[in-house]
Symmetry: D2
Subunit: 333 residues, 4 copies
């Protein structure tokens, strides 16, 4: 069975896993105070061309929640996002569990309607209502879409105007960068905090959270520990992300996944339902066809309608071209 | 420099790391619904000789907090423990951050004064006070001590009598088992929830939480996700713990660390300050001596007094005998 | 200036205030364990024709939050409501601050679209999403509308089917009862918990929370104290609510407020914008007219449009007929 | 039966209750934006001789929790207090329920051991531990003791040195002032936030929270609403506190309660067990004597020992001299 179900279905990239073995005789200081973590931070500073702080956390949800909690101090402070966003739909109310409200606006497919941010903010007028203090979006979005640099600049300017911190969920940021052609330094120049996902691109675990805004840097390790994210062996994540970032290896991995998705998009263009340019492809199959392929191609049902289904096909850093071609053949047949 | 600072100072055991590479071409379902996690759960059931549920979480604090939150539903429900316990002292108020009070009793070195549990419980008499609902202890303790099976039976009986859930923090449970000679099945027979630590015994990350009490099994994955502990690649932890548990490999690793500690205890018996039988050794050094060794042997200062220091030496699953002997020589000289 | 701004703009009904003086030489036990609270509970049992528990809390928000927290144990458990509801819009994220998500559906004016409850519930399919456990609505709604008994029965049946607790915010329940003609006993027969508002009908403070479902009765005072709602002088609220309930005095007060609103509705029917039958009247005034009246009639701007405003006129338990007539004259002129 | 059980056992002082009736025909703006609240704030500014903000909240626990939450932003920030303090023992873990740890030191009777504050603070050394950010004490204490002005100055200086906010629980501050002879202005000069209790001195409900430190003033109404303390009819509390403060009426009420307690202390000096100078008297009675009086004098058992009990007798603002004399006679007989 060909597996196009998601991009986190294997242990990880062998080259990165071998780094773990390579350094396994070394002894390090715990809790991210080690030499590998310092090395990683220097590398991140160089890549971002900025004096930023960086931390490896285990997964996307914990990174979203801890990052946003650094921005939202009092429990009346809230985050604005789109209805379809991960924190609103797919994190089992984890942010609310830390005491904060999510304010959401209708989405245009998976993207923020930029023209609605200010109006949404302005609905919160007095102390009988929550106080918006941050804006969250994912790039790439849940539907694999990428924000243009112009869009991000516009959002960044609106956030500055309204006094909102700007947080970018980068669970699939490498794929967005590979697709859109802008850089980590561009991102670092526009938001207050963001992360670069490893779990969905060849790491066994790990997201690299980057704090850009100096106001948000103080005492962050207190918050990481308090909100359950501190890893005793911080050096493990650092070793992996050093290999991930070095010589733009993460872009190489991301490019591969996108090139595989592009093959699908080209070959199945008649089935495409949502447009995007990253490693997720959404196609519409009538129920008969779906039933014919479902035991041959592992994939996610995104929407289930009376007479058709929307299917998500995801390519990973290590998806093989022969598998992609075979899957296409099965679907077309 | 010889490193006896802690037991989580290397990436991990090579045999276990190689398992990750071995399975890296396989594709798995996410979020712990995979075949490796099911295999692990069967293995744990066999070892515990009970129908238990098992989950791999990233580290000790998150395991303590999520486990206790499954026991403590309403925010007035509290946990009883000893003052020196990890959740009270070294977790940056992570449990309180989820809304629960920690009630603590004085410790006898690092252990619970069993004779005080009932009295402590009885101090909470009415709805103007918190309601104790769980008892937490670590085995081995922070000071490396092990509870005897008789002690655990007594505590278990008191908990049953008082209607308290019994939680055992097992960050160093393998070391306790190796030292005390009782088994995981014994532990599973006495408490409601416990875990078996991997981080401090050769895993790059991971604690194996085991739910014994049927009342505590429902909807636990909701809580894991809600409290930030869900790992997308659940199979990674499962692969590691399968290797860790198979043929009692974890006991082999634990035995090694204890035999190394025993050498230190034998050779430095005149310096010993706290008695215990696991992989931590606490010695008293006058300040002069400490200054002489501190650049040769990496170790933790546990207490700092005017004219002496209490030093903690920790042996790991992969501590070398030659390093132990050299460290002893340095300290004695 | 005639004040039709809201229904909580005076200290309270003199007859009720005089009760406080009448009993001011008596000494009572604290925290709601007194004879007056017991008397109140008997009275409530009689009126509801059921074995219910009753508690006086200070205001609407604290009653909503404590009541819902009794229903929602784990922090992944969520409440379903309409977008416009008080807990979602006008409580400064107080429910989320206790760790729970609010799931909302579009409103039909201020009412729940009953046909959407099940669909909304069914969107929450697995442990990556919140788990709906309660349904909240206000009767009367924010826009003064009243649910019919048939509607409440239908909602109650859906909640039972889906395993949702049913909570009714009754900040203006007396006004709903007076308008719709059903009784407290009808309400008690259909939901799991509800309250009867005093603040908006002549009490200086106080909402009477009534727990119908036996599953929700245990340890409620622990939660009240833990969530900041315990009042030392519980007997004060009990004295007031005894007078409020006795001989249906609360309905008398509610009827007055509605009869005053009905005069406005009759006389200003050409201006009416939202239909309802309780003590709130929503009218549409062009901006010129609004500017002419705004220094003569204190009222709330509900919506502000380019060329008109929606104005809310509220009548209270002690609104004078002459003031109502004068306000009508001013608005018509 | 003579009631000396507590100081919150009657509805309230008639003079204050009559104020409520006096103003009951006036219409006010809601939520503390009314003229009476502004008048109160001016009065408080004059009395404190400082530019402070003031808010009426319903009771002691909610005032402690909301006040401390304004000081403690991140959930790793903790408050230092004494073991016996109200927030630690008698508030059903309400502060922890908002996510903050209470760090406590042993008490000397009910008072803080001032010499231990700095040491306690210094135990919290790094990001694996909570971060102390506030110090809380009650004046008068749970045992009726009063801090001297010299003690408060010393504590204030230590707090400033350590960067701790200083919060004074004043549930019985009027009694402390009446006993110690210093003023509200003295208190306002030494701490960052404090309150003046009404519930225990003749108000049906209400504590007056006063924010001294400018850093703590912003957005406080957001926090009040978010943490369940907002009262729709803010003017009711303002009317009561205006009467309470005017012409030092609160000191008059406090002086009465203390003079009644002094009679007991003089007459029962052989029974006294804890020294203090306010309106609580602690006496030691053997079990026989206790059994003889318990149906004649309502009082609180503070400690229960094998052969004796410690009994608390409390005098209120309206305790009658004849009742005090009669109670003394009963106890002595």
């Amino acid at each position: 069975m060909i597996n196009l179900k998601n991009d986190y279905n294997t242990v990880g990239d062998k080259k990165i896993l071998e780094e773990l073995i390579k350094y396994s005789d070394e002894r390090y200081v715990g809790y991210g105070e080690d030499t590998k973590s310092k090395e990683l931070n220097s590398l991140v500073n160089n890549i971002c061309n900025k004096d930023v702080d960086s931390y490896v956390l285990a997964g996307g949800t914990i990174t979203n929640v801890i990052g946003l909690n650094q921005m939202l101090k009092y429990s009346y402070e809230a985050v604005i996002t789109v209805q379809s966003s991960h924190i609103n739909v797919h994190e089992t109310a984890a942010l609310e569990a830390t005491g904060h409200k999510i304010i959401y606006t209708p989405n245009i497919l998976g993207k923020l309607d930029i023209s609605k941010i200010e109006e949404t903010y302005n609905n919160f007028t007095d102390n009988h209502m929550a106080m918006p203090k941050a804006l969250y979006l994912a790039n790439a979005t849940e539907l694999g879409e990428v924000y243009t640099l112009a869009e991000l600049r516009e959002i960044s300017a609106i956030c500055k105007k309204l006094g909102l911190y700007f947080f970018i969920d980068g669970a699939r940021l490498p794929q967005a960068l590979a697709s859109a052609g802008y850089s980590l330094a561009d991102i670092a120049g526009l938001c207050d905090m963001f992360y670069l996902g490893g779990t969905k691109l060849g790491l066994p675990y790990g997201e690299l959270l980057i704090i850009v805004n100096d106001e948000l840097k103080a005492n962050f390790k207190y918050l990481i520990k308090n909100k359950l994210g501190m890893l005793a062996k911080g050096f493990v994540g650092a070793i992996m992300f050093n290999a991930f970032l070095k010589d733009d290896y993460y872009l190489e991995l991301a490019n591969h996944s996108i090139s595989m998705a592009n093959i699908i998009r080209d070959e199945l263009k008649d089935y495409l339902i949502y447009p995007n340019t990253t490693n997720q492809v959404f196609i519409k199959l009538d129920n008969n066809k779906y039933n014919n392929i479902k035991d041959k191609v592992a994939c996610e049902i995104w929407e289930s309608h009376n007479d058709y289904k929307v299917i998500r096909l995801v390519t990973a850093f290590n998806t093989k071209k022969e598998d992609v071609l075979e899957a296409i053949k099965i679907i077309k047949s």
